[in-house]
Every structure is written in C-alpha cells, then in structure tokens.
Amino acid sequence: MGRRTTTVVAAGLVVTLLLAGAVSYFASDAPDGLNKVAIERGFDGTEQEHDLADSPFAGYETRGVEGSFWTGSMAGIAGVGVCFLVAGGMAYLVRRRGSEQRSRTHSSSSGEPASR
C-alpha cells in the first residue's frame, strides 16, 4: 500500500481506538433489540450461559479492573487490535499479487474475461 493509504489507515485506527477505548464508556447498558424482544415475548429463559463466560475479556470487561473506566477501555482496545490483525492479515493473504494484477489489467483491456 502506498504511503498515503498508510496515513489513512493509521488515522482511521486512532479514531477507532478512541471509540472502543473511550467513547464506549458512555454506551447504553440496556438490552439490545433482540434481547428486549426475548424478554417481552418470554423466550429469554432459553438462553444458556456462554461457554467462555469466565474468559479474561468476557462481557467487554477486563478481569482484574472490574468497575473502573479501564475495564471496558482495555477490552475495547484489545478487540480493535485483534480484529485489525485478523481481518487485515486474512485480506493480505487472499489479495491479488502485483504481477497477477498487471496480467488481469491487460486481459480486461483486451476484452478477454479475466477468469481465474
């Protein structure tokens, strides 16, 4: 990626980290649409406890700092990092390579289907 795209991605990550690490503190704790409907229609009781409910970041809280601003902040920052690395890494692995891209450009400009 070019230098300017690097700048865009870096700036986007800063915004994203602020949202997950700070703005999330002000998010609503009310049940979401599905959970609210489940409660009102009486099928919330079928919900089973999550198998990983004891994991370090379960429920977007960081074990050891429960009850403070940092519990959600650290969980959010961790999640942003993991999502960026997993999705970005996957995209990097499946992307078109440079040479392939040039050959595709040539074939499409000559009207041939660029099939793979």
Partner: protein
C-alpha cells in the same frame, strides 16, 4: 442482535454453522477479486472500526438499545465479499474473546449479521446508486437507505430461523412484528452511522470507497499519486 446459545435448537444451529462455512469460503474466493496491496489494510481497518462501533450501544426506546451491525458499511467500503468476511471476523472475535454471541450460535450470527446485512444492504445500495445522479450526495443517500433496510431484514431472517428451530413456542407473527418494530428504529442509527462514515471517507479519499467506483468522475476517485502505481482497471 447477537444470538446467544439456546435461542435456536441444536439442529438449526448445526445447519446455520454448515451453511455459514460454505458462504464464508465462497466469500474468501470472491474477496480475491476485491483486494489488492492497497486495499488489504482497509479490510483490517473496516473490521476494527465495526468492532469498535458495535460497542457503542445507543438507546432506541425505554430500556432498549441497539448498535451498528455494519454489513452495509463494510460492503460499500471494501466490497461485498470482503465486507462479509470483515463482519464475520468481528463476530468470531466477539464470540471467542468477549463471550458475546453464543459459540453454537456463531454460524447463525454470521448468517444474520455478516451475510444477510451485506446481501440486503449492498443490493439496495447498488440499485439506488444506479438510478440516482452520479454525485457524492447520491452515494451517501444510497448508503443511508441501504443501511436502514438491512437491519429489519436481518431481524426478519432471525424470525425465519426461529420458525425452523426456535427453542420456545412463540407466535411468529407477534415475534416478527416486535423484531421489525424495534429494528427499524435501530436501522435509523445504522443508517446515520453508515452515511456519516461513507461521507467522511468520500471527503478524504473517495478512491477508498469501493462502492463509489464507476459512479464518480475518474478524477475524483484517483489521486495522481496512486494512478500510476496501482492497476485500477482490473477492478
């Protein structure tokens, strides 16, 4: 709208898991055509951004909240196949690290929030952006409507799955009415966030909005510094 374990029975959860594996695999193949050296890091950013904004539950009614699903936004920014993969990554991370969304329900959640929102939202976006004038405002407007539609459609897909394998005996018409009612309101939030984000990226780097390609004048989409180094014609 993260479905926990227990809402759907085991056969339905197994079926959605199997279907989601097939769909995700075909998305990997489709994403190859959408991704190059320049856009691959954008996929990481889109996934991270959707994770972050999904943490931001906003109130929609007394005692009820909603959050971005993100499928429409992802599809418009990085393409439908890559977009669905980005949301699927977010859902897997949420289920495995944050105990949000059941493990047996992961396939269900991928189908509802990664696949249904992308298919519905991107279809509406493509249809609208073809009939509207080719301006930035049209792209933002199409993003708004597409995102708005995608959320109730996804909630109806849940009702469809519940009809097959719901754990409780709930009248489907009242379930559908309740789900669509609250998710239309959540959809307005989805639409505002999606339109604001697409508008922001269009203002800074229109060439990084994949859904805008071919809709805006080439000069607006291709900064001089990137034209010579990337084979844009391939996409």
């Amino acid at each position: 709208m993260h479905v926990p374990d227990g809402f759907l029975d085991a056969p339905t959860s197994a079926a959605t898991a199997a279907v989601s594996v097939v769909v995700v695999a075909s998305c990997v193949r489709g994403a190859r055509r959408e991704l190059d050296e320049r856009t691959a890091p954008m996929a990481g950013l889109v996934a991270a951004f959707i994770f972050a904004v999904q943490m931001l539950n906003f109130p929609v009614a007394a005692g009820t909240s909603g959050h971005l699903l993100g499928g429409t936004l992802a599809a418009i920014l990085v393409g439908p196949y890559t977009g669905a993969l980005c949301v699927a990554v977010v859902l897997a991370v949420q289920a495995l690290l944050f105990a949000d969304g059941g493990l047996t329900a992961l396939g269900t959640n991928v189908l509802l929030m990664a696949v249904t929102t992308v298919v519905a939202g991107y279809a509406v976006f493509v249809l609208l952006s073809r009939v509207l004038p080719r301006t930035r405002g049209s792209i933002v407007g199409a993003s708004f409507v597409a995102a708005l539609v995608s959320v109730p459609v996804s909630s109806l897909a849940f009702v469809g799955l519940y009809a097959f394998g719901g754990a409780a005996d709930i009248p489907l018409d009242t379930l559908a009415g309740a789900m669509v009612g609250v998710h239309v309101v959540i959809g307005i939030g989805e639409a505002l966030i999606t339109a604001a984000t697409v508008s922001s990226v269009l203002a800074v780097r229109p060439d990084l909005v994949r859904g805008a390609r071919g809709l805006l004048p080439a000069a607006a989409l291709a900064p001089a510094s990137t034209v010579s180094t990337t084979g844009r014609a391939a996409s």
